[in-house]
């Protein structure tokens, strides 16, 4: 009961934030210099043509009216019309969003799967060689630009060794007809995973390093807890203490950092998609900017915000699930 109420309450809380995001993106998009109609019609278009287009996209009305229309549109699931492509923005986003989510979620899976053992080993063997190695790895991880990791991976694993393809990312649920060299769904999955490997590592390294650091310090603290001392006094084996007693408690800060890391990862996806030429949300926003496609810029920025807010809500609920005190505590 507590968890359900907490979930609903968290969702309700997100509404003002989403309205805030729309306000910021609308304000920014309105500041963009240059005229999209001009870009669309070429340098010297006929006057009637310009006016017709302006009327069609509502550009002739004052800003506050357009803002209210846009807000109402978003509430009903209409993100407007891309001026450059002449297609609904939502439709374009829905084509690209799955690719970006596929990449980002995989990067987090990679990060968590590698970081948790590293962090736990590091905490267990504190100040021993294994700890130093893991700390240096995570220090390098938080200090390396993700796009550079991508470039290095391409040079080594695509150009020299030829193990993985350097560009593109087909999603595993794509139809075999759309993926080159694949005839069955299983082959699509295989191709997809081959394409995924390098971008996943490039994007996930930073998250991996951050999670390792938190996991280590959290485990170190947890292993010094009274309950661990008690368990030791009762003669519980050391590996069981780590697995059962210390580990669970130590995961709370890790969940928080995963939620916050989403912001970095979604931003990093823009860079990773550029490096690996993946047709996702990141490429979409860059093309939209280059074409001065207002509605598409607003739509993509908004969707990035939505993706982050939803991600944070999911991590918050996961937190409340593991630590029920959150859901039953005073809701302020």
């Amino acid at each position: 009961m507590g968890l359900l109420r907490y979930t609903l309450w968290r969702l309700a809380q997100a509404i003002p934030v989403l309205i805030g995001i729309i306000t910021i993106t609308f304000f920014l998009a309105n500041q963009i210099p240059g005229d999209p109609v001009e870009i669309m019609l070429g340098p010297s278009p006929a006057q009637e043509q310009v006016e017709a287009i302006r009327a069609r996209y509502g550009l002739d009305r004052p800003a506050y009216q357009r803002f209210l229309t846009y807000l109402a549109g978003v509430a009903t699931g209409d993100l407007g019309q891309s001026i450059y492509y002449d297609r609904p923005v939502l439709e374009m986003i829905m084509l690209r969003l799955p690719v970006t989510l596929y990449l980002t979620v995989s990067a987090f899976v990679f990060a968590i799967v590698t970081a948790i053992p590293l962090g736990v080993i590091s905490a267990k063997r504190r100040n021993k060689p294994a700890d130093h190695v893991s700390r240096i790895v995570s220090l390098i991880g938080v200090s390396t630009p993700s796009f550079w990791i991508g470039l290095m991976l391409i040079i080594v694993f695509a150009f020299y060794l030829g193990w993985f393809p350097a560009r593109g990312l087909p999603v595993p649920w794509a139809s075999p007809a759309d993926v080159r060299g694949a005839e069955t769904q299983l082959q699509v999955l295989r191709t997809s995973l081959y394409h995924l490997a390098m971008p996943m590592v490039a994007l996930g390294t930073l998250q991996m390093a951050q999670i390792t650091r938190i996991e280590r310090s959290s485990m170190v603290e947890s292993l010094q807890g009274e309950y661990v001392k008690l368990a030791r006094a009762y003669g519980v084996s050391e590996s069981k203490i780590v697995r059962k007693h210390a580990f669970q408690v130590a995961q709370l800060p890790v969940i928080t950092i995963v939620g916050l890391g989403l912001s970095t990862a979604l931003g990093g996806a823009v860079l990773t998609e550029t490096v690996f030429e993946i047709q996702g949300m990141g490429r979409l926003i860059i093309t939209a900017i280059n074409n001065q496609d207002y509605e598409l810029i607003m739509g993509t920025t908004f969707m990035f915000g939505v993706a982050f807010v939803v991600g944070v809500i999911i991590t918050d609920i996961a937190y409340a699930y593991i630590d029920p005190r959150v859901a039953y505590g005073d809701e302020t």
Partner: protein, 326 residues
Amino acid sequence: MATETDSATDGSTDTEGTGAGEVEARVGLRYTLRQVKRDTTARIGIYTVGFITLVAVLGSLDYYVFDYGVAEAIWYSPVQDPEQVRRLLPPVGMENQYGQGTLEHPMGTDHRGRDILGRLFYGTRIAITVGFMATAIGLVGGTLIGAVSGYYGGWIDDVLQRVTETIYAIPFLVLVIAFMTAFGRDLSFAMIGVGITSVPVFNRLIRSRVVSVREEDYIEAARAAGVKDRNIILRHVIPNSFAPVLVQATLQIGVSILIVAGLSFLGFGAQPPTPSWGQMLSASRNYMLPAPTFSLFPGIAILITVIGFNILGDGLQDALDPRINN
């Protein structure tokens, strides 16, 4: 000077369970510096950051005072060379389809025949400036908002916190890109944009400290003595929240350098021919096969710089955390 003494006396409430005389010495800039010097990793951090900053300063001197003095010497111009044979040279001791590396260009040359080491050298200037400026903007903005928000509470707190939360809710690289599209693509807007995105980080940090400091007796006493709110915030509340902010600021410089490198990589930021690391990496993408080392060195430069700030930040944290010292 006055604020420093304030923080020294006021901070004594933070460290409990130690002798009074010792407490006095446990805070303040001099004590921190002594702690940092004692820590080996922090020392490495200081040396790295010091070295990079020195390179940046020398680069600026060369650029502004001597008008590209050294740069001319190592700056190979393809225009002056009619044959254009020395393009994309590899580093010393290596070979590629364009020839063999020479000592004149220890790290080789880029696609326009310019010395990579020289350009890395000048790139330092931009990275350091951007790192410090963006962090300063975030620090000042975040500290003011956080302090005011936490000190007054009530509706002011609510409004300010909702606004910063909203800024935080857009992935920051996307926000800076949108911001720069709206206002301008050059470096100054990159700094402001990255600064704005780091406002929520400092805000959150300061606010949580202020909320606990606000209830302290000495603040109560200052208020009873008729000290203005503004002075209480500036003289007592902010100095007492100084330590974690200093640590965060050091780490944030590294983060800002990474973000701006990413922005330059995407074409937002320093415009060519100004050498910046991100933009060098962006240019290298077209030559990854014939000249892989072209992509290698700018990345290493970023890596070393950011590692320096991260090590320094970690060292400061250890030095400033009273729990670890005890």
